[in-house]
Amino acid sequence: MEIVVKVNDGSSPSSYRDGDIVQAFSMQQIYYCHAQHKCHVRNFDFTTDGMRVADPLLVKFLEKTNTYKFERLNSNDVKRTNLITGEESIFNTTPNDNGERINVYQYVSRRLKNKNHLIFRSNGLEYWYGKSRSDIDVDSVWSDIETHTDFLQSDHIHFPLSDIEKRMFLPMSCCTHGHSHDHTDLPVHNACLDCTCGCVLSESSNDFISERLSPIFIVHDEGSDEEYNEITYKRKYQVPYWDLTSILSLDVDDIRNTNKEVDVRTSLPLRPAADLLSRDKVVAGVV
């Protein structure tokens, strides 16, 4: 995973504080972001009749990132195929039991007016894809990209942060260390920050990554529709980078100089342990 850490305190009590983890990305997010660039609709032309060219890479990308394929069968009927289960359903202008109906002529006509449309045509009948999947196999998507282009997944291991962001924040990499030693022993524990202790390294879980972005809050009116969280601090987790200068070879002055770009993201074998790098500000007594 990659994290983006706030540098210097914000000006108000509710602002981000020095060291707060402002943003976090899983490796799947990073790879998928780059995959979307490679498979962006604007990279693919139109056919002479105004349809999108059914480029093999684009079609594979859509089949692996969408839940449904829709195929026009005639002037009125559309077949929806669930690409995960294979289930097929037919729709037309007559509502089904769920109230689902489609005017396919109107639908396709509207889409074709959009220069970024993804309407294809086969044997004179249009087809398209819909509903993004929540379980995209990003490695498989990248396998297709590598098959059809010269791009390599291994060249796309960092989130494309902007130059501004690399000056105003501190980007870092980290991962989960499967400890093969007594990690309660402090010196060895610290060793997991510079990966010299033979741990098995792996990507952190989505839940772990999501938790790094949690705020600190108080719940009001619990159980009612008016229930809400009063956010007292924007982030619960921080990276006390100022305490890690030696072990991570960080220069605090450089990091805090917002006129300098500092980016300490690394490749996987060099990534420090995420659970040691970040700390819960409540548990640590920071707030």
Partner: protein, 466 residues
């Protein structure tokens, strides 16, 4: 006050071109290039990796694209890492060549920010390098890839006059979710229960033209897409599409647009021309598309389309729009469509609710709204021009098939020309496709889509026969 636009997107290599000429004085330089840059937009950054002629004294320059006029690109000097100060891009060198024959450095065009969260982090900064401290700041999103921001909290804009989160005109949706190459926020992780994807606690904030796809969050406890916390005077949420929250989010159900703070009695909050659909609770909770009744000021809810809101549990209710609870508040609710409510509770399908169970004590001005035949009678649309008990066939959406929904109005819709002209304040006249109802002189439709067209261009033809 000045307006500063910055781009937000993940494309950090839009184009690289070499300056050929420069005019104007610092910090604004009108630059032409050997080849005119393509794909760039106002708000993008021009980055230059420079050294003195002949090498040494390195400095990375950052410019902001402020105007694009044909081949003339206006670049505003922002900063340089070497502290050399304001310079024209023309005459900044790579360090290659000799001092007598230096090599002009190219400009690499990139987005200013890669995520909405990091843009917000800069809005929160009291000493912004990239805009003036009292500017109107516009964060303009680009559809380079889906945004995965799951927890953006606009809670402090320092001294900025206003903050707008918008979408570049080429990357706006066409009124339908899932438009390719368009801006969508599709979080891959939950926001946490009762924390929204976009959480707002600042005045003078606009969010527009953004799609929020909650479809990946069915297994998470996310239950809000846009949340107003009380400091929301002159907030406007318009032309957005929010959809597909299923599952059981936990303690309280899905409320994709929710107001939890009262604000002041003279504050105004406007929710205009949005589409919200497929909000489906699956485990014993209420569900509501727009839960707005906590607002103590003026609330304008105009021309929204809401479809398929489902609660779960014998006593749980499904709500389209709830407003007007607070004494002294005024909720203006007009030209909206609410359809497809599902609830197992008696009188549980509530298209329009005046505070909880119609017990609100604020003023509710309702007119020209539509409720369908799923709504309980007590919660039907009311007021002048309203339509009730309409079927889905009467409403005639183009496509309600799950996974491909298109809630534009089809040719036979009763919503066509059934609305009321609401003027142009806060761009309420701009429909979900960008159609200007005011400029085209049409009779307004109900809902977010203006489907009926003007007859102004086809004046009546009169034939006189002798």
């Amino acid at each position: 006050m000045a307006t500063t636009t910055v781009s937000i997107g993940s494309n950090q290599s839009i184009d690289t071109e070499t300056p050929a000429s420069s005019s104007g004085g610092g910090p604004l330089y009108v630059v032409t290039f050997g080849t005119t840059p393509s794909g760039i937009s106002v708000g993008d950054i021009g980055f230059m990796d420079t050294e003195d002629a002949g090498g040494g004294n390195a400095s990375d320059y950052t410019f902001l694209v402020t105007v694009i006029s044909g081949a003339n690109i206006t670049l505003k000097y922002l900063t340089d890492t070497g502290g050399k100060g304001d310079n024209s891009p023309l005459g900044l060198y790579t360090g290659a060549g000799s001092s007598g024959s230096p090599t002009q450095a190219p400009v690499v065009f990139k987005r200013a920010f890669s995520t909405i969260t990091l843009f917000e982090g800069m809005v929160d900064d009291a000493s912004p390098t990239y805009w003036g401290t009292t500017d109107d700041v516009v964060g303009e999103c680009h559809g380079d890839s889906a945004f995965t921001d799951s927890r953006v909290y606009f809670d402090n804009k320092q001294s900025l006059a206003s903050v707008k989160l918008t979408v570049h005109e080429d990357d706006r949706h066409d009124g339908k979710a899932g438009t390719a190459g368009k801006v969508v926020i599709r979080p891959t992780a939950g926001s946490g229960h009762n924390n929204a994807i976009i959480d707002v606690n600042i005045d003078n904030f606009i969010m527009e033209w953004i799609e929020i796809d909650l479809g990946s969050l069915d297994s998470t406890n996310t239950n809000k897409a846009v949340l107003f916390r009380g400091t929301n005077d002159d907030n406007i949420i318009r032309n957005n599409i929010i959809h597909d929250k299923g599952g059981d989010p936990g303690g309280s159900g899905p409320f994709p647009i929710h107001v939890v703070g009262a604000g002041a009695s003279d504050d105004t909050l406007s929710i205009l021309n949005n589409i919200v659909y497929s909000i489906i609770e699956t485990s014993n909770d209420n569900a509501a598309a727009m839960l707005l009744d906590a607002w103590a000021g003026t609330m304008n809810v105009y021309n929204n389309t809401i479809y398929n809101v489902q609660s779960a549990g014998g006593s749980k209710i499904a709500i389209g729009i709830r407003a007007g609870r607070v004494s002294g508040s005024t909720a203006n609710v007009k030209n909206n469509i609410v359809a497809g409510l599902v609830s197992a509770a008696s009188n549980g399908e509530r298209a329009y609710e005046h505070g909880p169970a119609n017990g609100g004590s604020g003023t509710l001005n309702e007119a020209y709204n539509l409720s369908d035949d799923t709504s309980a009678t007590a919660y039907d649309a009311s007021g002048t021009g309203s339509l009730i008990n309409q079927t889905l066939s009467d409403i005639d959406f183009v496509n309600t098939v799950a996974g491909s929904e298109d809630l534009h109005l089809d040719t036979d819709s009763v919503c066509r020309e059934a609305g009321v002209d609401l003027g142009t304040t806060n761009e309420v006249n701009i429909d979900i496709d960008g159609v200007d109802r005011d400029a085209t002189g049409v009779t307004w439709d109900m809902g977010a889509d203006q489907a009926s067209v003007s007859d102004a261009g086809s004046p009546a033809f009169m034939m006189f026969l002798d």
